[in-house]
Structure formats: C-alpha cells, structure tokens
Amino acid sequence: MKYKEKIKYTPKEEFVKRMEELLGSKEEAKKFFEISYTDTPDSIRCNTLKISPSELKKRLESYGWKINQPFASFGHEEIMIIDEKVGGGGRKLNPGELGKTKEHLLGYFYVQEISSMLPILVLDPKPGEVLLDLCASPGSKTTQAAALMENKGTIIANEINLGRVGILNTNMERCGVMNAIVTRMEGVAFCERILKKTKIKFDKILVDAPCSGEGTLRKSPKTFLIWNLNMIKKIATTQRRLAAAALKILKVGGEMIYSTCTLSPEEDEEVIDFLIKNFDIKVEEIKLPIKLRCGVCEFEGRQYSKEIEKTCRLYPHDNDTDGFFLCKIRKLSDKCLLENKHGGRI
C-alpha cells in the first residue's frame, strides 16, 4: 500500500494514549505512529536446506541488489536485507519482484520480516529435537526451524484454519521441509489430545499466538480501523489458554517461546504473568544483536511479576522492523496450579 493510501488510516485516541504510557512519552509515541506509515525493509532468509548464504548472496547481487547480513556476527548469515538506499549499483525493488525470482520459485529463500525471524533464533532448535509449532501458518517460522534442524528431528506444525493449512503446506514444500507433520486442530484441543492419547513430549515449543497485530501496522494499516479493547481482551483469553495448554506438553527442562506481533500488555506480559502464577517456570534472558526493550511490569495500574522484565519488546522505530513481543520460558517441573492438570479448560 502506498503512503498516500496508508495515511488515510489513523489511530484511535485510546490506542494513542496506551502507546504513550508504554513508551513513556508523547514524542516516542509519535515516532511509533510515524513509522507505521512507512514500509519495512525488504528482508529475506536464505533457505540453507537448499543453498548456502554465500551462494545466494552472490546470485542476488548479480541482479544489482545490495545485500546486507545484519546478523552475520551473531552466526546467522542466512538473514539478509536487500538495501534500497545504495549508491553502488543497487536499486529499489519493485513490488513482488523478490517473489518472481528463480531463486524464490525454487525455494532458495523465504521473504520474511526480521522481527518474525527472532522467535526461532531464540528457540534455537537443533537437529534431532522434537518441536511443536502450535500456530504454524504461513510457515515462515516452521521452515526456519526445519533449516536450523537440517531436516532432522521432528516438527509438528499445527494450524486451525483449513485455508491457512494450504498456505503452510505450499511454503513447506517450496522450502523442502521433510521432517514435519502438519495437523489441523484448534490449538488447545491439540495439546489436550497429545496429553491424553500419546506419550509425546516436546523438547521445544513455539507459541506464536494469534494477536491484535499492533506491531504490523506498517504492513496492515487497516489494523488502525479494527483496533478495539474488547477484541484485545478476547484474544488475550485465547492466548492464555494456548500458552497454558502448550506448557503441559513441554518436557521438564524444555524451552517454550511465546511471541506475538502485538504490543498490548494484555496479550503479552499479562499472559506470561498468568503462566508464572500457575506453572513452575523460569523466564530466561534473551540476547539478540538489536535494540530490545524490557517487558513492562506495570500497566494501567496493574502490576506484573518482576520476572517479566526478562521478556522483550521490539518497537518498529528502534530497529526499522515490525513491532514484536518475545518471551523465552524454561519449564522447571510438571507442577500446575490450574484446576484440571490434565488438560482441563482454562
């Protein structure tokens, strides 16, 4: 969407006030909303199941694009930004240009926003592990995990929506994911059935929960229109249920990432606070080579556990990305204070 069209959408007063409280000043909130009307940089992730980052870089440079690898020093050369503001022969990409390249059609790379790559970087799945991606479509994180796992170990990629399962399958095929099983179930029901009918326990779980999308305004400015507090509260209930159900099928000592592309504390910190109060877990620190801000321990007069400070908030204007929330949890024991330990409804 062009800037002229995007600018037609404006935030509701209540949304602005909340962002001012979260960011600590009107100036910061202004920066947050200003960047919402601009596009994110073109970022891709090299699919190391099919090609090496150095070979892909060489090929893309031959199109006249300048390739930056902002996470190379962190050991992740596969993450690339196609720089638009280059003087050395580079040029601005046309819409859809990346998707039409032979390299994309053959599954050599995945077009993925930087913030969306972070949960799997933090979860760091290894070959041989058993991983659950509870809300998997469109498959950006599933394919990223499969690449890090070198197609070894097993991924169960679950998705509730039939149409989105199709997209997930298409992306997984293109990227050559061979170690995954795709299931279609509502997330909580999936976890309950795993608990009741199988002996499967997961080494690692990703709960990239459906959310109100406050962090993706740059892509979907229509979020300004549909934003409302009731929706946030409703989604937060679903998120709590998903995260709690997932924790029950995680191995003791296993790791879970809870992430959303929204910035409302009800969907982020409050979900983690709920987990801390009801499960024997530890929130672990996250280290990434970009500017991250600590989770908020107080919002609109509500106070959360001190542990929440270890969760991360990613604001669009800090790193020129989308907004994101990220929390790494380690399960310490099977202790659960919720009424029905074996999958009761939350």
């Binding site: 099919k50 090929r59 031959s62 039409k100 032979k102 059609l105 053959l106 599954g107 041989g128 058993v130 197609n151 070894k152 170990g153 097993t154 991924i155 169960i156 998705e159 399962v165 997930l168 399958n169 298409t170 997984m172 095929e173 293109r174 050559g176 994911v177 061979m178 170690n179 995954a180 099983i181 795709v182 299931t183 279609r184 179930m185 999936f190 059935r193 009918k197 199988t198 499967i200």
Partner: protein
Amino acid sequence: MKIEIMDKAKKKKFIEEVSDLGVEKIPYLLFKTGLERIRAFSGSFTNKEVLDVWRNFPIEGIGLYFGKQMIDRRTGRKESRLSLDALHFLKEQIKTIIVLNEEQEKEWFKGKDIELKEEQVKDFKGNEFVAVVSCENDEKDIIGTGKISSDKKMLGNFLPKERRRREM
C-alpha cells in the same frame, strides 16, 4: 489424509522406476498418500510414532511431496516421476538431465511445454522423464521434472502451478 508406509519391496520398486534418472538410493521413509502421491519423511519419529499421530490427529501433510506413481493415459503403462523438490535433495545422484537455454527457461517458468532442438535430445530415446536444468552464468539449477515426447520434439512441463511465474 490417508497414509501408507511403503515397505522395503515397494520402496525398492519405486527406486527402480526412477532409476533412469540415475537414482539408486532414497535415504528417507516413504509414504504413499492417496492413489498416486509419494511423500518422503526425514524426521526422527519411528513408523509407530507416525502412525500414532495419524490415528489421533487430522493430518494435513507429512514430510515432502516426493513423486508420483501413476498410469500414462496414452500408453496405459505404469510410470513414476520425481517432484522438483525431490530432485533438489537427490541432485548428487541425478544423471539424466536436459539443459534449457534462457528463452526456454522463461517459457518453462510460465508452465509451458518446451519445443526442443535436435542437439538437445540426441542422447535420448524419447518418452522418458528427465531432470530439467537451467544454466545461467555457470549456475546450474534443477528447475523441474519434464517428459520428452516419443517424437523427441517436445518437453512436457510438470512444474507445479504455485512454482510458476504469473507474469514476466
């Protein structure tokens, strides 16, 4: 999705059927899904664990679409072919290739059948599957599975719709 684990004999037969391409070994667990489609799974779950998941959950996909065992409508003969992504994972073994020029490659990615030149087919007998390769700036890419017609004039295009370029 119905799945059937291919036993040793069935797997061996499938490998034999695609051996014209040079394939001698497929180091993955193979599943037959539906009547024709074959999928490969490289995960750590055992056969029993996979079946356990299949019995208890609505499975929408397992592993990677690897190929097809089907009957040629014209000749009525049984034949097998590998998928584009299967070729990517077996590229070290693939020997039977046909190299397209730049113009042909453009048409290939539109999903069109390709008119072949005599020099491109001199080593082929016709009516056979080949790995289709594009060669640009010394970069060789397997870009799909094709079938050379019996008169060796055309290359049938099996590039899936979602891998085609919608407009150039």
